[in-house]
Symmetry: C4
Subunit: 236 residues, 4 copies
């Protein structure tokens, strides 16, 4: 079996595992689980993690040049290894983002909008989960419930930052830094998409002034070829 | 009567209804009405809502493919149904934005500026109303007067977020999230418009280096056709 | 004397008057003047204001179509009338920005950078003055010294908004709103200039793939004309 | 020896000196050194400073037109002179940014990403050092440890500004202003890079509609030349 074949086969199962992970993690954090329920949620999380671990090793085994694959897929390794550390579990989010990227429609700009909305929503949801997980019950912490965590995530990703909820733990601050970077990137993508749309709209006002297209040049080239043929005919 | 005809007929009455709604809502919230005045304002608000509800059902009845129209106009349904919930009344704002989009002038970039200023102003005004409506009198709330609400709306849409006024109710926070998204979009549109203008100005410095236009290619094509005609003439 | 001639003659005196105004206003506000010094500063401010008032009426008198000039120069009227209201004196800033626009160099992008730095600096300086003027000594106000006001202006224009200094008076909040709008515009101009530069740099990597220029098309057109001349010659 | 030769020779030694400076400064500030360790760190910092001072004077001596070089390299003078003032030492950062610019890869957009990540990281690191150096132990200051300073730097560069940590000293505020400007520039570069990428991707969807390239025009020109040759041949 080749690496491509394996990747194609495991695409949907891995997507499902990532979704199951997110649901179990959300249930554990939002529900503030204890006892047997916590055990169930933790078990589900570890099983989904094991699925990704197995996938990583199978891919490594199937790769034609193993060292090269290892070096070029260090990020995949991080996604597999780091979630063992509880707070970094939200890195699993990246897997779900990959799915989103695929399911987005055909037109490029439409795809960008779907992606920004989807990625932004997932980022806020997962960051709120992770921050709540890290902050709840800590001395001096403000983020105690899931709605508060979501509100804080919105404040942070939009760079408003009122300061009514601020992470006080180190993990919470790490999550906040991730959200800030996400906020800058989101703002950039929104602006850039709008810019490309406005540039196009402005350009379309005067058709004759629009840039010459390759199709037009091909048309011209055909006309010249016909001319040449005409000359050759006459010469004959 | 066709759907297009109905839409054309109801364009101005619906615009007027939206404007009446905004005035009545502003009067109710800013004036902090009680007794018979509150009853008048509420009656006006419910009448404008009924107008939009009737328009929705007439459009649905006139649509050639009703199910298709229903699916592709879910957002219209939300605008009609959700304002029953008091805090979501500001969704009516969308109707007024549609008018603004139409009344903006001819040149595309000028239209963008008019739209941004108008939409930004309406967004701040309506969000301040909705936040004041939700926050006033709540325990721990800071937003108690309309000027405070407008100041808070400016702080939020510009993503400055000093934190001197922060919404504490759930509805107030929802309004804030809407404003943040509006702020990001506004910033994006402003930047993109400026970018398209700067790109154009930079490109115009050297005329010979500007992109070849379709008009020029058409000119070339005409020259080649004349050449062909000349050759045909000689062959004859 | 024509309007153009008058405008040309008064260009430098008006610039000087605007600069004198700014110095006097800064001296009055930063120095927190009292007694005879305050009288001197106020006198200078009123004289510079009178200079602009006279210029406005002379322009109006010289304009060929007075009503048309009046309608198209409402902003000039605002700059002249509003500074009578003490807090809106910073509108005089607009006059100085006009000078800056002229003195910026020749290359368009270079001019944008000079303009952004100059306009941003002036905006921060004048807003700090106006906010200090409005806030100092008010109950509950935080902005009491000029360095504090400048720090607050930087926080606001960059949309960071820590919330350690917040305007509490209505005029102070108005100044803040102006700074926020200025901040958004500055961010937009910086981004747009960078975007135009990056688009250009990316486009220059493969010369053959760059857009066809008008100069190239003119070259082609010449070649075809020569061909036609050659054919005509042969026909003769 | 020419100026170019000297610059080429000293490129790597100066880079090393800048790196040594950064390490020594970080050690001094993070370790909150006292006694002999402080003396060692300070000595290293002064030696690296002397290296840059010597380089400045050698460059000045080798320059063909000394006054012209002096005027066009005022910024270099500032980098050399200002670090004598302890808090402005982070200006040395500029030297390291120059190295980063060189070591970034070949493709332009890739280079921009490497540069933004590298410059952003360095900016945050150095600003956190400088702010910690200025704020630690001051009355009313919040920034007391290096992790707090880094967290504050992230909050500021992303313009979130919760307000949980705010510089209270003049030097700390100066550092903050630098970070804000850096934040705006970073946001601008990220947006602009994304914009250029999206514009390109949108343009590539329909190949025939893409702008005509110079390569295509050259092809056309060749075809016409062949035509001319054909005609000449016949005439002969």
């Amino acid at each position: 079996m080749t690496l491509q074949h394996w990747r194609h086969l495991t695409e949907w199962p891995l997507t499902a595992a990532a979704a199951v992970f997110l649901v179990a993690y959300a249930w554990e954090v939002i529900g503030d689980l204890h006892g047997s329920q916590l055990a169930v949620a933790e078990t589900v999380i570890w099983i989904t993690w094991a699925v990704f671990l197995i996938d990583y090793f199978v891919c490594l085994a199937l790769a034609p040049q193993r060292w090269r694959w290892f070096y070029t897929h260090l990020f995949d390794l991080a996604i597999v290894v780091l979630p063992m550390l509880r707070p970094l579990r939200l890195l699993r989010l990246v897997t779900i983002l990959a799915i989103l990227q695929r399911s987005a429609g055909a037109a490029f700009r439409g795809r960008v909008i779907v992606y920004v909305v989807g990625a932004g929503g997932l980022l806020i949801f997962t960051a709120a989960l992770a921050a709540l997980d890290a902050e709840r019950g800590m001395p001096g912490a403000h983020i105690e419930t899931f709605p508060q965590a979501v509100w804080w995530a919105f404040e942070t990703i939009s760079t408003v930052g009122y300061g009514d909820y601020v992470p006080v733990t180190e993990v919470g601050k790490l999550v906040a830094v991730g959200l800030m970077i996400g906020g800058i990137a989101t703002l950039g993508i929104v602006t850039a998409t709008l810019a490309s749309w406005i540039v196009e709209r402005v350009a379309q006002t005067e058709i004759d002034m629009r840039a010459a297209t390759r199709g037009q040049i091909r048309e011209l080239s055909k006309q010249i070829s016909e001319l040449k043929a005409l000359l050759d005919e006459k010469s004959a």
